[in-house]
Symmetry: C2
Subunit: 431 residues, 2 copies
């Protein structure tokens, strides 16, 4: 293990020398993010045996022989992320930390509090995610965990922005009779809901090698791209988008480092730790950067997957313990899995019928009576397998990432082209 | 589990009504601390089976039949602590959160950042402690974990106080030729060392039912007593001591709630999670309140135990895997344990001889040759057993708490009576 850590000496030194002359925090953040990626990539194989030896492992159900894979590796990605962030925090404030340049009285405590509040929420979620992996917390309890974890974040929002007014879209203005709508406490409820949604949404769209980290990577890259775009388009809000970049770049680093081991055939699983952590990053960035609506636009596949899953999640339709695709050992391909419709009530049948109208579900019928007996499990991955036929595991993971990327393109189109039909130019620049 | 949670409704409501009219954050903090204590007390039995079912358990080595006890319960105390703290944070700032009273521009972001930084360090340590319980991290790695966790705290210190000058004690002034000494980076090194020391020190003085939580409770009570004293003596520094109280009161609450289950015969173990968390509380309070030297005074038993253990910890004298007292099933009392001196080198023998001069070690000799063959394991608890004879487990835990309390009394004497021989009155008021 020590050898692995010492291997970091030369690149770190080289980078330190390179960065020493550069006083741009964004460049430092980029360099640290590269180091974070390398660190995660190197650390995971070093600790895999320790994780397995202490029972932090799971079986890969979609492989022959169901090999044992170390689980909860999101904890390693998280720890590397935090080390990098703790090292980075002083950088944007370097002028104040060097005694002479600025007076400490002018120190931007509000900006500093943003970092601390964001990291506190993230650390809370990392801890709760790891605790969930270890203790298998019940659904009805754990769905509320992000609410606790997001509280520092909401407080930081309250004292830095505090605004709870939203611009009413032009077509709806006659309805509300005003341009701005004061949401008050409901705006906080919306942000808390965003945190609860985004942490759980990554967790629901999971189960295939590389798919949790893959979707998170695409979302994080989209957020970073949007930040860079806004830095040029909207200098007045540069500060907020820089903060967002400082949070999201190291995340891209550790996710890439992790994905290298998590991709098919996986040698590491992220566990709930990774899903919760990734989800919280998106909530933190959206809330601190004050562009939570845009972040939601990047999560359309997760929103779709969640709404699509609702008939099963709320037990209108039978919901088996696992809804992942199944592995066919003769074809070596993944196939969709099915739920029985025999015990489905009236409301469940209505939902299935609506989904059928939009061609979003595949039904298997009894060949004799013609009665619907099975429907594919209502997840995005099963739907892809139903639509495009059985495929290999890495292909399915790639497919999900492509869907995610296409949705991001659509989000950019909505955000930068179609928005003018909904808001004026000036309002558009707000977030 | 739900029933247990619902049981909180009536007392919470009653308290909310009581507190609603009181605008003193300290009173709110006290009320919340009582709730935190009740919460921890109620929650632990509810989750014990879950912890055991997921392998978070250990054998109680000092009991007949070595019963299986749920471990890492410090996590529950920690989670309750954080929920209460997250709820509490807005309270001292309530004037700003109610739109009308104060302008948001005047918001004391620096004070807010203190809370966030302190909680971030605590949460980091809670996570790392739990990870250590689950993964059994190696000593040489984990001894540095508090360094990572304390970084946000040091940054907060830097931007809120920033002072690294210490007052030179009067007798030493001629030596340094000045009244103030600028320590610079060394002051930060001292604070980081305090964090590393205090987190590990609680962990070393452990192994008997109730002793980890017991010593933490006495230290926390001493800190709270000192805060209350200073609030009256030194109004200029009231703010710092109030912050300290806000952090330490809920900790006293959860520790009492936990101790009720951890006291002999224990039905819950705290694990490293509790020890690290408790240690970090003391570091946070000392650093944020800017009275780290006083906190160290309250930890004299831990300092003694650490220095006393050094010959074994650094392998000058043989160090067995466990150094706790052993249970004698015929007398039902705890007895000291021994280490062999047969392989002890020259330096180790010298250390034992020095300890013997101060009557701090008991030696067993070969009856024929008269040669020293065994010494008691060098821990405070073994020393107490050697000096006062075998005793029952709860009696030993009480003994440690009494030693801790006596040392606190001594600390108050030094801090408030003897200090005038070392510092002037005015300097004394500084911290």
């Amino acid at each position: 293990m020590n050898q692995g850590i010492w291997a970091f000496g030369p690149p770190s030194l080289l980078m330190a020398v390179m960065v020493a002359g550069i006083h741009n925090p964004l460049v430092v953040s980029l360099c640290l993010s590269v180091l974070a990626g390398l660190g995660t990539y190197k650390a995971i194989p070093l600790v895999s045996d320790v994780f397995i030896a202490h029972g932090r492992s799971g079986k890969d159900l979609l492989k022959e022989g169901r090999p044992v894979i170390p689980e909860s590796m999101g904890a390693i990605a998280g720890v590397v992320y935090f080390i990098v962030m703790f090292v980075f925090i002083p950088v944007p404030f370097i002028g104040w930390f060097r005694d002479s340049e600025y007076a400490l009285a002018d120190f931007p405590h509000n900006k500093f509090a943003q970092f601390l509040g964001g990291l506190l929420s993230l650390m809370s979620m990392l801890f709760l995610g790891f605790a969930d992996d270890v203790l298998d917390i019940r659904w009805r309890v754990k769905i509320w965990l992000p609410l606790i974890a997001s509280m520092p974040l909401l407080m930081v929002y309250c004292v830095t922005y505090g605004g709870t007014d939203v611009v009413v879209p032009i077509p709806l203005r006659s309805l509300f009779g005003q341009k701005m709508l004061h949401l008050g406490i409901f705006y906080y409820a919306f942000m808390a809901a965003l945190a609860i949604f985004s942490t759980n949404a990554i967790n629901i769209l999971a189960g295939v090698n590389g798919v949790e980290a893959g979707q998170s990577l695409v979302i994080a890259l989209s957020i970073a791209a949007n930040d860079f775009l806004q830095l040029h388009r909207n200098p007045a809000r540069a500060e907020a988008h820089l903060t967002s970049l400082y949070f999201v770049l190291p995340f891209i680093g550790v996710t890439l480092g992790f994905l290298k081991h998590n991709w098919y055939p996986a040698r590491a699983f992220g566990g709930d730790t990774l899903c919760y952590f990734a989800g919280m990053i998106f909530a933190v960035v959206g809330i601190l950067g004050n562009f939570s609506k845009t972040v939601l636009l990047f999560m359309v596949p997760q929103i779709f997957n969640f709404i699509y899953s609702c008939p099963q999640l709320f037990h209108f339709v039978e919901c088996p313990r696992h809804r992942m695709p199944s592995y066919n050992s003769s074809t070596k391909l993944l196939e969709p899995t099915w739920c029985s419709l025999s015990k489905t009530g009236k409301l469940g049948r209505l939902m299935i019928r609506i989904l059928r109208t939009f061609r979003l579900v595949h039904i298997r019928r009894d060949p004799k009576t013609g009665e619907a007996v099975q429907a594919n499990n209502l997840t995005l991955m099963n739907l892809l397998l139903v639509k495009f036929g059985p495929m290999s595991e890495p292909r399915l993971a790639t497919f999900v990432m492509i869907v995610q990327a296409l949705c991001s393109c659509l989000a950019f189109l909505i955000r930068y082209r179609l928005v003018k039909f909904v808001y004026n130019e000036v309002e558009d620049n707000r977030n």
